[in-house]
Amino acid sequence: MSLVFDNVDKHYGDLQVVDRFSATFRTGEVVALVGPSGCGKSTLLHMAAGLERPSSGQVLCDGKPVAKPDPSRTLVFQEHALFPWLTLGDNVALALEFQKQSKAAARTQATTWLSHVGLAGFEGYYPHQVSGGMRQRAALARAFIARPATLLLDEPFGALDALTRLSLQDVLRTLVAEAQPSVLLVTHDVDEALFLADRVLVFSARPARVLREFTLPHRRKGHDLGDFATEKRQILALLGVEVDAIA
């Protein structure tokens, strides 16, 4: 599924958040969006999901304007998006129940997907009974179970500790490799962007404008990223982090 932003503007009252943004995301592509806090990245994702409307311009999905949320474009939130009153199994199954699938079928599939993300046997646990990393695994299962053509990930691992994040990046990469959705990934973590994406867009401060685009040659990367040291240095510089502060 291809996603096109055509000259999109977004204002909240007087606040301009997105400034004439145009971009094309191709089917099956994994694109990371990196930028300073508050620059408008989440807003872009919410417009792609159909949760917000552009103030002017259009978001097109396979050529048709996006008007409202659709399960074919699923959004994974930074945190807290599981329902605390449902077990992990019910949380994941709910995605199918909302699409009018039978409860029994939804349950069976939920169990399968939970085991895909390494949560076999945790169907009956409530979110507050498991660790943050396990919650985020369940959120991934809930996103993938409906087999969305497009996956919108809004800092999905932002609230996790560094080590847990690394292992979830591995899980996500495996899932993406299997299901081959188009992915838009918002992240603050340059390593994460370099590890997961085919392409990285670096944004300016608000209103969001693309400062530079990096196309990464291949997906076969390790967590140490020795190969991409130059890109990392360049991206951090664009984001204003003193790369060699004391050196």
């Binding site: 919410h46 999901a49 949760l51 949320p69 659709d70 399960p71 474009r73 699923t74 959004l75 939130f77 807290h80 998006a81 329902f83 605390p84 009153w85 449902l86 077990t87 709910l94 995605a95 909302f98 699409q99 409530y126 507050h128 009974q129 809930r142 409906a146």
Partner: protein
């Protein structure tokens, strides 16, 4: 890191029983100091209570009181939830309601009784309205405050998963406000109960525990007064601890595992 020490369920129950026992002790001390016709002791009252429990009049009074409670409390909860939800959507209405509640809430139920008697006529109706009014405020306030705090990310998540409007209300809004709703319902129950007994004491109509209490006081039957107070307190504690707490644990199961 370290958590405050928690009691085992047995110890907890033991402690609660001790709390009740302490009150009984206080009462018994008063009975020892005061003459028996002013303040009878626990044994005399328990004996009296067991006699009462064998009489049909007791069950008529109980039935009357519980019937009024059910109607008044039920109506209050229904209106409270409806108004609370409406207030959640319409913020101007919310403030109007809040303004009205602040003023009305400060009037004690026994001041309402004569007005409602005159306005609504005799019978159970004025009592039920007083009960409903007393229970309405906490119910409406708690739903109002709860709907304000439904997390937007939950609503967004459900919409992204393709939830219909009905699905959204049933699967997101309702479970999200449930904890506050139950707290509100418990507060409302306390208010309803106290208002009910007060109103029954003031309006000598129909059968009811409040009326029996009042009558016992009138005929100098202090054993009757104390056994009635005992029934009133224990009944409320039982309804609250057994029915409402059980409902809470059932509906909010996820918070207790």
């Amino acid at each position: 890191m370290s958590r405050p020490d928690r009691l085992s369920p047995t110890n907890k129950r033991l402690a609660a029983a001790l709390g009740v026992a302490l009150i009984l002790l206080l009462w018994q001390c008063a009975a020892w100091v005061l003459p028996a016709f002013l303040m009878p002791g626990i044994p005399a009252v328990l004996q009296r209570l067991s006699t009462e429990l064998g009489r049909p009049a007791f069950y008529q009074a109980l039935g009357g009181t519980l019937g009024r409670l059910a109607v008044g409390y039920g109506v209050a909860l229904a209106f409270g939830v409806a108004f609370g939800l409406l207030a959640a959507v319409q913020s101007f209405f919310r403030e109007v309601l809040r303004g009205a509640i602040v003023v009305l809430q400060s009037i004690p139920s026994i001041a309402w009784v004569p007005l409602f008697l005159i306005a609504l006529g005799f019978g159970s109706l004025p009592i039920i309205v007083v009960v409903a009014l007393a229970a309405f405020f906490p119910a409406a306030l708690s739903v109002m405050n709860a709907t304000e705090s439904v997390q937007r990310v939950h609503v967004s998540a459900a919409r992204v998963m393709g939830a219909s409007a009905g699905g959204l209300v049933r699967r997101v809004y309702l479970p999200a406000v449930m904890p506050s709703l139950i707290t509100g319902a418990q507060l409302a129950f306390g208010n309803a109960w106290r208002a009910l007994i007060s109103a029954e004491m003031l309006v000598g109509f129909g059968k009811g525990l409040g009326r029996t209490l009042q009558y016992s006081g009138e005929i100098a039957d202090m054993a009757g007064v104390m056994s009635n107070i005992l029934v009133i307190a224990l009944l409320a504690a039982l309804i609250d601890q057994l029915i409402l707490e059980a409902l809470k644990h059932r509906l909010l199961r996820y918070q207790y595992v």
